[in-house]
Amino acid sequence: MNHWIIVPVVLPAILASVMVLSMRNELTLQRIFSVTGALAVLGITIGLGMQAASGQIQVYELGNWPAPFGIVLVLDRLSALMAILTAFLAVAVLLYAMGTGWDTRGKHFHPLMHFQLMGIFGAFLTGDAFNLFVFFEVLLIASYGLMIHAGGTMRLRAGLQYVVYNLLGSTLFLFALGTLYGVTGTLNMADLAVRIGEIPADEAGLVRVGAILLLLVFSIKAALLPLHFWLPETYARAPAPVAALFAIMTKVGAYAIIRVFTLIFGPDLSATASLIGPVVNVAALLTLTVGMIGILGAQNLGRLAAFAAIASMGTLLIAVAGFTPEATSAALYYTMHSTLGGALLFMTVDLVREYRGAWAGSLLPGPRMAHHGMIATLFFGAAIATAGLPPLSGFVGKLIVLDALRDAPQAALIWAVVLGTSLIAVLGFAQAGSTVFWKPAPVGAPAPEPQEGTTAPSGLPQASTHPAPALAFSVVFGLLFAVAGLAALAGPVTGYLAQTSAQLFAPDAYITAVMAAR
């Protein structure tokens, strides 16, 4: 029996529990366990990736109950890819949090982080629709805890919006699942795929409603317009390591869209074929536009980075909306880029906020800060990655997306929007960067009022006393190299992704693996 699949879910849960149980007040111990655990999970997910690379789909029947009656975890190329990405990001985020001392600014940072990981891994690995809901809950509540870590009035306010909006989404998720269960009598995703494939025409209405409700639920997570409203304040106010980890949270939504709308409501399903693609396409184009406009119009770096996250989800979902193997493969490449690039941007913005004193993330000229050159370099790199200029992965990703959508019905519009909005981003980043890093503060200009909610509340360790700047900077530069590496290794990576999407668009193998696991 191969138990490795479930380890990324169970190990973080056990680690988090052990940390709460035995080392609540021992930060050093927590750090050791936390990072070691994350590294172990990274190793395991890489191992899972190697297993999945062969193309074989592994099924893990929880409680030894056969599908569709029990819950199954399923490891295919896509879930393995997402798990590796998550684990990699987690290691970076944990190290960064330690390097900046963010984990000292509130209680339970490390346990919450691991609970969060448990939720993300569970969402990527589960093969059961209701179980997906459960893991959405796990990652929602843990992310709420992380989001309001270190407190501050503005942050708490943003956190409230975040959790309320996402609870609306959870409620909707239940409605969607109820509808689908009411029609098909099952919750296992492979079984749903089988049954919906044979659905009588009499039930098409409910199936369509169920499908669109699920799409909306995932769209909330993926910050697709007009359900993205929770994101800007949340990301802008969240503690930096958390915002960086959130780079994978939006991808959970994108992942769920890809999974559900290739497996269950595939592009060949007549009941929903005309429904999903066009909706996602239009919404994603709007998302990209609003995101890029937000970058240009942002008043501070936090919001700029938040809108950059929205914009990158727009591009990603434009590719997803193609629902062809090529477009999906492009979407997956963009997913990897956007995750690493998003984390890079948030950490860089955090370094600016922390070292710039009262000026924090405001787009006002301030004094030269410590490590000015290094932070400026990082910002330049992050901006290039986000705006999609060479030589980083954003450019390659954009090219692949454009190429994959060449034959899409609205190819000209898509190209125009993707390229046109890039220009907006270039202008936005150029203005922000030159103001923050180049423009000298006018002589005698007073420092602005400290921005609450962006840095630690008073009485807690502040940025200037970074315990280990070398560690923090290494992590951020590491992410920059990762983004560059993703571009350099685009050949082999897209090779794997092409196989991944081929697997997604031939769902019979998945269904057979789950339904006939024994």
Binding site: I6, V10, I14, A16, S17, V18, R24, G63, W65, P68, F69, G106, L112, G122, F130, N131, V134, E137, I141, G151, T153, R157, L160, Q161, V164, Y165, F175, G178, G182, V183, P200, A201, D202, E203, G205, L206, R208, V209, L213, L215, L227, F229, W230, S274, L275, G297, F380, P390, P391, V396, L399, D403, L423, V426, L427, A430, W438, K439, A490, T494
Partner: protein, 961 residues
Amino acid sequence: MDILLPVIAALPFLGALLPGLMIRAGRATCASYTALSSGLAFLLLLICAPTVMQGEVLHFRLDWLPALGLNVTFMLDGLGLLFAGLIIGIGLLIILYARYYLSHDDPMGQFYTYLLLFQGAMVGIVLSDNILLLLVFWELTSLSSFLLIGYWTHLPEGRQGARMALTVTGLGGLAMIAGMLILGNIAGSYDISVILTQGEAIRDSEMYVPALLLILLGAFTKSAQFPFHFWLPHAMAAPTPVSAYLHSATMVKAGLFLMARLWPVLSGTPEWFYIVATTGLVTMIIGAVIALFKDDLKALLAFSTVSHLGLITMLLGFGTKMAAVAAVFHIINHATFKAALFMTAGIIDHEAHSRDIKRLGGLRRLMPVTFVIATVASLSMAGIPLLNGFLSKEMMLEEAVHTVWMGSYYMMPALATLGALFSVAYSFRYIVHVFLGPVRDDYPGHPHDPGFGMWAAPALLVVAVVAIGVAPFLAEPLVRTTAHAVIGGELPEFHLKIWHGVTPALFLSGTAVIGGAVLLAAHAPLMRGWLAAPRPEAKVMFDATARGATRLSGWLSDSMHNGSLTRFAAIFTITVVAAGLWAWGGAGIGAPERTMLPIRALPAVGWLVLIVSTGCLIAFHRNRLLALVLLAGVGLSVSMAFVYLSAPDLALTQISVEVVTIILLLLALNFLPKTTPIESSTMRRLRDAALAIVGGVAVSALTYAILIRDFAFDSISAFHLANSYKGGGGHNVVNVILVDFRGFDTYGEITVLGIAALVIFALTDTVLRGPGGRWLVRWGAGTDEAGDRHPLMMVVATRVMMPIALLVGVYIFLRGHNEPGGGFIAGLVVAIALLMQYMASGFAWAEARQRTPYHALIAAGVLIASLTGVGAWLAGRPFLTSDYGYITLPPLEKFEWATAMGFDLGVFLTVVGAVMLALNSLSSMARRRGETINIYPMDINPERPDSPPPPPTGPGGEKET
């Protein structure tokens, strides 16, 4: 030799690492190490040169992203060789020049790093054999040029110029991405060597015009063609070495390079001719005219560069082979004299401390060396015989004479001569107004010739200017090789020579020189007229557009995301309902399959209670206490519904959850205002009411639609019913589903509960340490609280109930697997029992009697659940696989055990811990607010002698101390 190509391209990038480090060893060392990498690249290029000059083309290929067609493929032919030679060669001169130009305050390491990055990108463009790879390098030049223009970060002109250049060239670059993708698709490959063989197919394609327009947009923005020319003069805010290098000799020629590279494929159509030739012509004239009226030396040179770029573009646009040869030749000539001129402008600025022509003049005697260099270069720019500028300008005029534009034979030569005429005028002005005339005594600095290091580079270039001018055959092999690469076929019959006989071109050239001289003579009145005339100011327009776009974006973005949660929720509701309706509208469902049940009295009453409670809740929701009571009513009605529908597990769960949440909410009310204030307008509330009704109706309709029809397939629950005992060892199917069939869900959900408690704790902790805590202290303990906080009766009653409740909890826990109950309900029941103790005697008193920390309870719960699941691995089964059996413990009867009980224990502990930790958080808020801690179980105890008398009631009552 092919392997040298990637090395040549990579050397500047690798070299870019050096200056930043070597600056620590001093400026001279830094400069020489920078020159080292460039010099090495130049050497390697020279090694390749003979082969290329013989007509061979070097190729190198490395797969990068073959699926897309983006590969690292390099090619060195004549065109590439010329450009690479110019880029690296002039680059070396610039490195030398900058060594003396940069002041001690300028960060030299940074400068050279940027410069080498740029050099690498530029070499990459001209060596690329793949248009996508070319795009990569293309954008890199924009980025490095951004850094170089903004190098003097304290200058607003530098920052603005950098942004403008990046935006305009970025616009072109993005358009070019689309153009290249289309072009590659038509040609079936992104490799230039393949594309060059597909000329006819490309020109015949219906996508030819879009591809052409998009690619030209890229080329025109980069090469500063009208109407995108405006960024170039503003890029002159950069240090002069940058202006000389990027904005005259190399980067701005990238657009020309691209047009030349794709010339065999794209040219030869009317579209090409009219777009490219006309743009070039207009740019040439406008640039020349403006240049004449610029007082800033660098602005003069910038617009003259614009003009000359226009000239070359026009030649490429003509589409004839001879025009292409002339274009190539002028590229060489312009690079030599213009770079030299920029360097002289830099020298003047450096030594005289001004670049303003009005403040200069008479420098001839003070700066003789500079004077000679500048004069030769200027005369070449004016097209005076025996200098190289003359030769290519003659060729240009000759081609113009043979060109018919819109049916007119005279238009093109006349306009080209006009451009040449202005070109002569500003060239002469550079000599006459700067160097000639009387020596002044009001220079801002003390003009004198610089050291050899600074004038060596321009001098070398001027030597080339004269050499080619006097002996054009020297340049002929290079021009031939390059032109061969551009044309891609047989070269026309030509020889570069000084004297072509009396041709129309010679006549036009003479006209231009004389006219130019006349124009300069009339400069002063013309200048007054120019200054008086209204002119569109590009920078103002660009700035206004950028600022407008930024403001508009900010306004759009901020007013859309204004932080109003109700608005977000309203949009959510509308979206969900609309999308659902739309999805429904496409299909619908069949006729009802189930018959309606008759309405019975009992459920009708329950229904009524539910509806009335809900209605009242809406009506009275501003009174928070009342709202809670009504909410409890709703919860109770739902529990009753579960009882009626034979779902005892659900009913038990619902009831106990109700009790716990209501108690915790009641405690939380302590820290909230008593009533909810009215914050929104009537219209707003009407809108919200309408939305709520729409949402409610939609949900009801959906539920109704589901309920009237049977499952389309057999539901999976039949399996659960059949296997509950056989496989799960329990008769209570609900419990077996919770802990076994779908134990993994439960595992997730108890984790959610545990996390929630931890979050509440962490949140409380942070809030109390921040402004929230200070606010609580200021607020102080409530004044309108009951005097007897811990009443005797309640204390006694809860003490009595405690063991009973605990026993009930254990009972519910143990029977859970077969009868209604289970760990979750048991946990809630026990939590309620404990909660009552805390309520009766106060938190601190109760906590002092409780030994296990709540954190530990939660953690232990999740841990036990996890380990129970992992335990199955030992038996070789998947996570959470259960087992059960029977044991007989005398004197008891035989009873069943199941591993699921271990899991259920985890559930139980987590629930208890979570509830208690939430309570703990609330009580720590109360203590922060100043609530006293009681050491006795109850405040008033008749048995205790020191028991205080009952305090007077009412708001005026004294506070306890």
